[in-house]
């Protein structure tokens, strides 16, 4: 039984079919990498799951609940956290405040007027800081962080939400080699306690972290399996990886 199931999902933008009868099952406590050439519909799939866009047809089921077409905040409250392709942090707030805002156990505005430091915040903050190593940057304005730190901050924000599933769009884009190595460590620790879907182009990175690799092409599922199986698949080599012999 999958924690997240996508059934026959389709999405078209003014006649252009971007997602075409795409189905996927995500098993609990696995890290699934979503790969594919540009325009394959990876980010759109993320948008459809997280509610940023509404599917034209099909169904998205999360823990046996139909979440198709719900608002972004409703989907987030059910435990689906999202990191964006272009890191989206609150640039004029400090790292600490970014993480505090993301701690969204209580979302009612009136109850949030009553307290400054909600229960459980401190423990969660320590946990996330330990994982992301941002402890020394707590009071820094997020806008002046380096690119890698910004990526980690956004991953940290998703973790503060305490989600059951993390959707991470290109988490290592623009990172240096050593930053990528650090991120690999973070992800391999995360997948022991969380379910993750990661969109990524960097195949070396995918090889290090993925339990399952899903290849998309032209809005449909092209292949799925372990990294070895996928890399051996001639269709995948054809449209995406290229022939290693070349």
């Amino acid at each position: 039984m999958g924690v997240l199931e996508i059934h026959h999902l389709s999405k078209n933008f003014g006649g252009t079919q971007v997602i075409n009868d795409f189905s996927l099952k995500i098993t609990e406590l696995t890290l699934c990498c979503l790969v594919g050439p540009n325009g394959a519909g990876k980010t759109t799939t993320m948008d459809l799951i997280s509610g940023r866009q509404k599917p034209s047809s099909g169904q998205i089921v999360f823990r046996n609940d139909d979440i198709t077409g719900l608002g972004e905040h409703e989907i987030a409250r059910r435990g689906i956290g999202r990191k964006f392709q272009v890191p989206a942090v609150f640039r004029d707030l400090s790292v600490r405040h970014n993480l505090e805002v993301a701690f969204s156990r209580e979302t009612n505005p009136f109850r949030n007027m009553m307290h400054r430091k909600p229960k459980g915040l401190r423990e969660k903050l320590d946990e996330v800081l330990q994982l992301t190593g941002l402890g020394s940057r707590l009071e820094t304005e997020a806008g002046v962080l380096s690119h890698g730190e910004t990526q980690w901050l956004e991953i940290g924000m998703v973790l503060m939400q305490n989600p059951s599933i993390l959707l991470l769009d290109e988490p290592v884009a623009g990172m240096t080699e050593s930053e990528i190595e650090n991120t690999i460590k973070i992800f391999n620790r995360l997948k022991k306690t969380n379910t993750l879907i990661v969109v990524e182009h960097d195949m070396a990175f995918v090889r290090e972290i993925a339990d399952v690799v899903t290849v998309m092409h032209m809005g449909s599922l092209l292949a799925q399996g372990t990294i070895g199986e996928v890399e051996a698949d001639p269709r995948v080599r054809d449209v995406y990886l290229g022939d290693p012999e070349d």
Partner: protein
């Protein structure tokens, strides 16, 4: 684990900017309010006292704009909606206080407009308590409804500014057109001061000054506490990126509507005080120039700081009263030029200038060879 926390503490100590210290902020509030609070003990000039109380009203308006715009990201060019509606509510209440149910049941201007009985719209204002409650509740409710419609449709940025301005302008025209009910352009001039609990509140006396002062302290401190709460943190986040806040699980439209309505409520309190002080209300209170003026005060003072916004309002309105006489018609040019300079060189207003200066002082102190500074320099290299 404990290393991370320790490191964080060192970094915090190293980053000291007095401007961001909550203790220092509250200390500034205390000093400011004590200074303003002792005015009636120093002067017995009733004209001056009344004028300062009116400045208190402007200060409340500045707080309301700063809360909505600075902390909620809602550029509201129509704060005169709440201010004006509340002012009319208060004006109607005070007008009815001077009517006698037997000898003169309806205000004289209605007779001139050939009304022979009190319109239903006016009836609730015969009761002072109900009148004041309505004066505060109607504008707040208006903001709740307007906010719900606009924010649920994800209207934002300059479009909010245009819509609030348009509504204000429409309301202004409506009040002028409803001559028999509002006395049109002339407005209402209640003949006697507000009576509360059987006593006259002399608009030129210390009591009215204390009332305005008390309400200013309450609204400012309330707003300050609000900005320091989790709610305030969420609104400051959505000011920069509402889209991202939605994906954290917050209903952005609800947060925007709530802070917009609170801002409107504070402006409504200001509207009631204004009429209590000047015994007069007219469509001028819903003039677009006045509402845009409020945004200019706050822009100059610093919209991210409540007290900065108050100082901005006092400076501009004070300047207008005292320097305006010397510059006559060119005052608006002086004000406009000043505003352009601030927007160009001080995007965070005068409060932002203070933040930068205090930050520089803090850095200089850190670079001197203090043991704490040396510790901070070692730590971040990991």
């Amino acid at each position: 684990m404990s290393g991370v926390v320790a490191k964080a503490r060192v970094e915090k100590a190293g980053m000291t900017n007095l401007y961001h210290s909550k203790t220092a902020q509250w200390a500034v509030y205390a000093v400011f309010f004590v200074a303003v609070g002792v005015v009636p003990l120093i002067t017995s000039d009733s004209f001056l006292l009344n004028q300062f109380a009116v400045y208190g009203v402007y200060a409340m308006l500045a707080v309301s704009i700063s809360l909505g715009w600075g902390f909620g990201g809602i550029l509201n060019l129509g704060q005169g909606i709440a201010f004006g509606l509340a002012a009319y509510g208060m004006g109607m209440t005070m007008q009815m206080q001077s009517q006698d149910p037997v000898s003169s049941p309806i205000p004289p201007f209605m007779l001139n407009n050939s009304l022979d009985h009190l319109p239903a719209l006016w009836v609730p204002f015969s009761n002072t308590t109900l009148g004041i409650i309505l004066a505060l509740a109607v504008p707040t409710l208006f903001y709740v409804i307007f906010g719900t419609l606009v924010f649920a449709a994800r209207v934002s940025g300059p479009f909010i500014a245009i819509m609030t301005l348009a509504v204000l302008s429409a309301l202004n025209t409506l009040i002028i057109d409803m001559q028999p009910y509002t006395n049109g352009v002339n407005g209402l001039t209640p003949p006697s001061p507000l009576k509360l609990f059987g006593a006259d509140i002399d608009p030129y006396g210390a009591t009215s000054y204390w009332i305005v002062f008390g309400l200013l302290v309450l609204t400012t401190c309330g707003a300050k506490l609000l900005t320091q709460s989790k709610f305030g943190l969420v609104t400051q986040a959505l000011r920069g990126d509402p889209e991202r806040v939605r994906f954290l699980g917050y209903n952005v439209a609800v947060y925007e509507t709530v802070i917009y309505a609170i801002s409107g409520f504070i402006a409504a309190v200001a509207g009631c005080c204004f009429v209590m002080l000047v015994q007069y209300v007219s469509p001028a209170q819903l003039d677009t120039n006045f509402s845009i003026g409020m945004v200019i005060w706050v822009g100059i003072g610093g919209r991210f700081s409540l007290i900065g916004s108050i100082i901005g309002a006092l400076m501009i309105q004070g300047g207008q009263s005292y320097l305006g006489d010397q510059f006559l018609n060119s005052w608006l040019l002086v004000l406009g030029g000043f505003f352009i300079l601030v927007v160009r060189f001080l995007p965070k207003g005068l409060a932002g200038l203070l933040e930068t200066v205090l930050g520089m002082v803090g850095t200089r102190r850190r670079s001197s060879p203090l043991p704490q500074a040396a510790g901070a320099a070692d730590m971040p290299s990991q």
